[in-house]
Symmetry: C2
Subunit: 200 residues, 2 copies
DNA sequence: CGTAAGATAGTAATAATTTACTTACTTTTG
DNA sequence: CAAAAGTAAGTAAATTATTACTATCTTACG
């Protein structure tokens, strides 16, 4: 912990890089983040990054992986606290909202990668994240059906997709007005409508 | 209509440029579309573009304006065919779905511009589009309330935002699997849930 | 009606930046 | 002192925009 040095262990430097990129994505178009931007914000020269990552795409990949892991673990944790399937879905929804308000750069990175047409590794990770998220929700909705809490004729796949879309919509609108607080106000209102849509 | 010439009137060339960009956005990350890409696809040299647009940003601006105009006019047209507020909302929803399946590059361009942090003119246009879209929906939902078709306690602003988010979600998922047809299959299912959520 | 003049729309080449990545060398650390 | 982590400088490719010139179209007039 010497004060006047930039020297870090490789693992710490990689973790710091991921943090910096997520932070940068909150204040800049993710596709416009250059290696120079990252290095400058970290207080290191641009070339130093390539001591720890072979390519820029490897950096992006690490960032997306970090987001996927963090988001899924938060969701899993939120799910454990509740019992009724609908309460679990609600807990997941608000955990997701809290996550993106804590890391506004995270959804921006995800969107940016999902926009890419060609199948890159980062896009693959993002796709897998959304898929496992959706399956988790479908499972909960099916449980809700058997308990008579969810409409029997509900298309659970569509309902899972709708919840994820809802969050995307909220994020997008909060990005527009550049106000994360707005999301916390709007989220409960939107979820109330969703609940009406799926409940028996 | 001479066969062996590229010469076009300025207005036609500008319109052609917009078309090309929308087409390119369907097959490439919008933020990676270069002026060289555009020129090449149009069969013209790169420099020629700057005879008709002062900057690249002016091209993007024209594209976003085209999308906003086209989408709003489609929505307005769809709205006129129906009478009941909920039927109008449904018609608007499916008109929007048809629009994006016809021009898959359009939502990609919009997302891409909305991602930008700093307030550019294109982002301004996109924001205005979403706002006027949302207001139109809120108006319809209020009408639905007075006619007793829509739940009296519905938050119409949240409900309008939800519908737009739904479409964003559908678009994103169809982009993921690179299959526009999927959207046509999923859209009615998702709308059914939404209808349950707002109806009295 | 045909054509020269002038306006318009193009080309080819290039400048000025910016980008991801490399290389040769230096500093710090265990 | 050796390995790890950094710097400084540079390269090749790509990007937007400009410049000097050329081909094509339009139109007014002899």
């Amino acid at each position: 912990m010497s004060p006047h040095t930039n020297y870090m262990k490789a693992e710490d430097r990689r973790a710091a890089t991921v943090d910096i990129v997520v932070a940068l994505a909150a204040e800049k178009n993710p596709s416009e983040i250059s290696t120079t931007d990252i290095a400058k914000k970290m207080g290191v020269t641009q070339g130093a990054l390539f001591k720890h990552f072979p390519t820029k795409d490897a950096i992006v990949q690490a960032v997306i992986q970090w987001i996927a892991d963090k988001l899924l673990s938060r969701i899993e944790r939120a799910a454990q606290a509740e019992t009724s399937p609908i309460a679990v879905i609600e807990a997941i929804f608000f955990a997701h909202i809290r996550f993106v308000s804590e890391y506004p750069g995270a959804p921006r990175m995800l969107f940016s990668e999902l926009q890419r047409k060609q199948a890159s590794v980062p896009k693959q990770i993002a796709t897998t994240l959304l898929k496992s998220y959706s399956l988790r929700l479908q499972q909960l909705l099916e449980n809700g059906k058997t308990q008579g809490l969810v409409r029997a004729d509900l298309d659970t796949k569509a309902a899972a997709g709708l919840l994820i879309g809802m969050i995307q919509g909220l994020v997008m609108q909060s990005l527009l007005v550049d106000n994360i607080k707005l999301m916390h106000i709007e989220a409960p209102k939107v979820f109330a409508i969703y609940r009406h849509g799926i409940e028996a």
